[in-house]
Symmetry: C2
DNA sequence: TATTAGCACTCGACCTAATTGAGTGCTAAC
DNA sequence: GTTAGCACTCAATTAGGTCGAGTGCTAATA
């Protein structure tokens, strides 16, 4: 049996209706709503076929049909090809105000949540190459030195180092030159034990300070790895009864609070370099506790090999059209952000 | 009518039982559970009195009694006097590992959540005096200057400033000296427009840079104001049916995600300088959406006039004893943290 | 051959009434 | 002052009944 044009139309009608109502849809509804001019009986026959093909499911004997994961997948694939929809009202909202990066990302997450009524997430851009760009020690007061570390992509990190006795200007200058000449432009992998030992030797009695600085550098990189994730609209899940029973809601909220789980999504999105919009439907989700959800994600580019991820999480019957449009818009705004910075 | 000893015992028995079960408790239960050796009829008489006094409530005619807010209040006050309980297993968990402040606070929130099964929050310590401690400009690359700003309490902030043309070492030194001699040790309030104008004049053609630096200082202070809040265990609310109906759960989750609302709690806790443990029961809560909850908070001291807040939020029938113990323990650990840093 | 009308059937949703049982207040006896 | 006993209340549960949306199947129709 094949999926001919009429079956396709019926399938799409079923899904579209289900997306709106969240209720199983019956043959009579389709017969009346569509312009196919077919009786409910004919629709019933076709629906039986569609069920056999695995696109729709009957939750119980005397109920209408709801889309299966396979049905959603079909619908989404068709939509992605067809539409290049943009959500107009979001355009340039982000670009309008110049703000700090973290505020902006938080804002992006919120915008998406308000616009779609689903839960959203945005990760801070993360560099794939970890190259040390700038490093400086300053004397803060008699017993504290401030180390400022900048890595590629302008991730900045500060560490305060305790010292037993005050260092004079000349020593500070010497240490700064020593560190910068040897470390600048190196990636983390290149800063190995041999190099560290050599540096410590040259620093003489100030070896321990060098060690602390290097530790701080290492930690900067590490910190960059367990990255910041901004979420918004987690409470939107309560708008969808199919997600708001106690167990499911608890699991979802937990995922959003812990954020640890969400990183799986990032890895998954990242490995695929194609830089497109990805849609996970139900069982396709890489996150166990989201088997009842659909997830739409995309990467955004921040130049310098930096990239972050945005994502929307909602019920399987989400408004894919709108969600994909929203994601696209926000993605392009974030992409532009960097280019604007370049000027 | 007075609250004699027997009434007190009965009231406490009712509350204790209700805390465990979450169900209205009847006269027969009290008659059997306590060692008062009174019949259910007698208990009934006393319960009628207790209801008249406002300590307990009958949710409907033929049900047992549940504690009113006043009843909880009585119970909590009595407990606070009596007990100086410590939660042993938590001792020194935080102190054991030396970690970065934000990790540690996140950990503290998590510890409390796991230990109590309620939702918890921890705010980063915040300075009440905003004094500029250290300020330094460095040339990062040809077109970017890095400004490092440290305020009292070692809150550090970086800003990258774009410049049209590269500045030479001498100019950088001059700007640094200019800024430090005039601004160090000043509070934000003292950095007024007159001072800024004078500085800009002295900086000559580099006035715009001075302006950007001052802007960054202002923002550091501001950012310090919309402070970091770490939460954990928000999904614990699903363990308590009285909080997990859709509307309430949604509101609570929202409060925990937005965090904006939680700041009310901080202000309230802070104004009272007594630095004790505070318990808000039901209607006493400063947060509208938490009228069905109880909230226990405490401040912790981080020296230098820095203080943060920890809090636990749960149902009115929370295990106050345990919660207060947990809060006390975590508070003392955080208090110690700073003292340990001092060494 | 494809489509449609008709019909018997299924089954969750909803309504109602009856039953249950925990708990109460009151009264009279101890 | 305490207690036993009893009538009463009322939410929660159960059981039975109806309703209606939806189905599959069959026979008639275009």
């Amino acid at each position: 049996m094949e999926l001919d044009e009429r079956k396709t139309k019926i399938l799409q009608a079923i899904i579209k209706n289900y997306l709106e109502t969240g209720e199983p849809v019956g043959s009579r509804t389709i017969s009346k709503y569509t312009d196919l001019n077919l009786s409910s009986a004919t629709i019933r026959n076709e629906m039986a076929d569609l069920e056999e093909l695995g696109f729709i499911i009957q939750p119980h004997t005397s109920a209408g049909r709801i889309p299966s994961d396979k049905g959603y997948r079909f619908y989404v694939d068709a939509m992605m090809l067809e539409h290049e929809k943009e959500v107009e009202q979001l355009k340039d909202v982000l670009l309008e105000k110049e703000e700090k990066l973290d505020h902006m990302l938080k804002q992006a997450a919120k915008l998406m949540a308000v616009n779609t009524n689903y839960a959203t997430m945005v990760t801070a851009p993360r560099s794939s190459r970890n190259v040390l760009k700038f490093l400086q020690l300053s004397r803060m007061d008699a017993s504290h030195i401030l180390a400022v570390i900048v890595i590629e992509g302008n991730v900045i990190k500060n560490t305060v180092i305790d010292v037993a006795e005050s260092l004079n200007d000349e020593t500070m200058l010497k240490l700064n030159i020593l560190l910068n000449t040897h470390l600048n432009g190196l990636s983390v992998e290149e800063i190995n034990l041999g190099l560290i030992t050599a540096l410590k030797q040259q620093a003489g009695m100030y070896g321990p300070i060098i060690e602390e600085v290097i530790d701080a550098v290492a930690e900067t990189i590490k910190e960059d790895e367990d990255l910041e994730i901004y979420t918004s609209g987690a409470n939107n899940i309560f708008k969808y009864p199919e997600l708001s029973d106690n167990q499911k809601a608890s699991d979802l909220i937990n995922a959003f609070e812990e954020k640890q789980l969400l990183t799986q999504l990032i890895d998954d999105t990242n490995t695929d370099g194609k830089n497109e919009i990805k849609v996970y439907i139900g069982e396709e989700s890489p996150i166990q506790t989201m088997k009842d959800c659909s997830i739409v994600t995309a990467n955004y580019e921040f130049g310098d090999g930096m990239r972050g991820m945005i994502g929307i999480i909602g019920p399987k019957r989400m408004d894919y059209d709108k969600v994909v449009g929203t994601i696209k818009t926000i993605k392009s705004q974030l992409d532009m952000m960097y280019k604007k910075d370049e000027d």
